[in-house]
């Protein structure tokens, strides 16, 4: 019995075992394709905007448009990814993160109620889940598909609708989350849409990253009919 032949047989056995195991493990976790992520180029432009202009949008501001009065946001419409969602008001979790709706309501979004309302000067923040165990893809599953120029409509309690235009999108590691870039005050009204992204750590039950969409206020939508 040659050593070479024994080695060959062992390799065959390992290959057979792997061939059985890998599809088994894979099929149980890849029931849906992973959520789309911002491409590197868009993420890069986000970093540039953040570094170059301290978090304010790089493009020119509309001079005739005035910021809006404070009014709590109630619903969200993003035509590009066919998202229509209700918005609830939530604050901070005990650990200091912006709270999100429970996973049992995967199609609700939440507005961070310690900051400005959409259309007010400053950075308003709306969060939503990317997926949940019960339903699979959740409300912000396709958030990473948004590109500069896409529009976001946020309707407020006073029935006014603030319109935002996306100027950047990026994927950040949670461990290195740039809270200043994302949450810092901007003199012009801006909006951040945030969901999870990247790889999922099943041991901790959390994604390793966050997809963040940056948008700037471009005016009010005609109030009567809504978007």
């Amino acid at each position: 019995m040659s050593t070479r032949r024994r080695l060959r047989d062992a390799l065959i056995a390992v290959a057979m075992a792997a061939g059985i195991l890998v599809p088994f493990v894979g099929s149980s976790t890849l029931r849906w394709s992973p959520p789309p992520l911002p491409p590197a180029s868009v993420a890069l432009s986000g970093a540039k905007v953040a570094a170059g202009t301290r978090g304010t949008p790089g493009t020119g501001r509309p001079s005739l448009i005035r910021p809006m009065a404070r009014s709590v946001p109630t619903s969200l419409y993003i035509p590009r990814i066919s998202v229509r969602a209700k918005i609830i008001s939530l604050g901070l979790t005990p650990s200091g993160a912006a709270a999100v709706p429970p996973l049992s309501t995967p199609f609700l979004t939440s507005w961070y109620d310690q900051g400005p309302t959409p259309g007010q000067p400053g950075t308003s923040v709306i969060l939503g889940h990317v997926d949940s165990a019960r339903v699979g893809p959740a409300i912000f599953y396709n958030l990473g598909e948004l590109r500069p120029g896409d529009l976001i409509y946020v309707t407020l309690e006073d029935r006014q609708t603030a319109v935002f235009r996306v100027y950047s999108a990026a994927l950040y590691l949670k461990a290195d989350f740039p809270t200043r870039t994302v949450y810092s005050y901007t003199s012009w009204p801006t909006l951040r849409l945030i969901t999870c992204g990247g790889e999922f750590d099943r041991a901790t039950g959390h994604y390793l990253g966050n997809t963040v969409v940056f948008a700037q206020y471009i005016g009010q939508h005609a109030a009567a009919n809504g978007p």
């Binding site: 056995a13 195991l21 165990a133 005050y185 039950g205």
Partner: protein, 224 residues
């Protein structure tokens, strides 16, 4: 002079209610400052006469002192919505450049202010921040960067003008998330699960061992 100021002011405080009504008749003084006439003027004259001061001294002191009587004395709670101080943005946030603008030319003080100081010690900043002159006389402003570590809540730094006016600039600081939000259950994700990896490697090891045993038996059987 100072004595006269104090004397007049204290004399006027007692008659406060008589002059609290803005509708009371005013006349323009020499310096364009409204002077309430009638009873107050008589009171001031008598006080001045008692002090034995010249008319020149009265002329220079009276407008300021008398004008103080025209300003209603509010309860302390009215200071919170003081229209002579503005804070932008309000609410502010940690790390945000925040601008304080104060109008020092209060009628309750002695003359125009030429300087003002912001005491920002309650914000974790200097207690002596010199303010820059603003766009109109008596207006001063200062912009400070709030510390990243400042907690959420209501803050009331004080501003001292050098004409004796002290203003309280009450504003709110909102909380900013310090962590990344948890926004997914992971059902559509690719996997990086340590337990599954360990289990998979274990199964592979067992399979390899079993394969080896089978092959050995196979070979030993063939030898017979």
């Amino acid at each position: 002079m100072i004595y006269l100021d104090v004397k007049l002011s204290s004399a006027v405080v007692g008659n406060d209610l008589a002059f609290a009504d803005p509708a009371a008749g005013y006349s323009q003084g020499r310096w364009g400052i409204p002077i309430p006439g009638g009873r107050l003027m008589r009171l001031a004259s008598s006080v001045a006469a008692t002090a034995g001061l010249t008319m020149a001294a009265l002329a220079s002191a009276a407008p300021v002192a008398l004008a103080s009587a025209a300003r209603p004395h509010h309860s302390p709670s009215a200071v919170i919505s003081n229209p002579d101080v503005s804070v932008t943005p309000n609410p502010s946030a940690p790390g945000t450049a925040t601008t304080f603008v104060v109008l020092c030319n209060s009628l309750t003080a002695g003359g125009n202010a030429t300087a003002a100081t912001l005491n920002a010690s309650t914000l974790g900043l200097s207690s002596q921040i010199s303010m820059q002159p603003g766009t109109q006389p008596g207006e001063f402003e200062a912009t400070v960067n709030l510390p990243q570590t400042i907690g959420p809540g209501s803050f009331s730094p004080t501003i001292s003008c050098n004409n004796g006016v002290t203003q309280t600039a009450t504003f709110d600081v909102s909380a900013v998330p310090s962590q990344a939000p948890a926004t997914g259950g992971g059902s559509t994700s690719t996997v990086t699960d340590g337990r599954l990896t360990v289990a998979g490697l274990g199964l592979l090891g067992i399979a390899a061992g079993a394969g080896g045993v089978v092959l050995r038996r196979h070979r030993s059987g063939r030898r017979i």
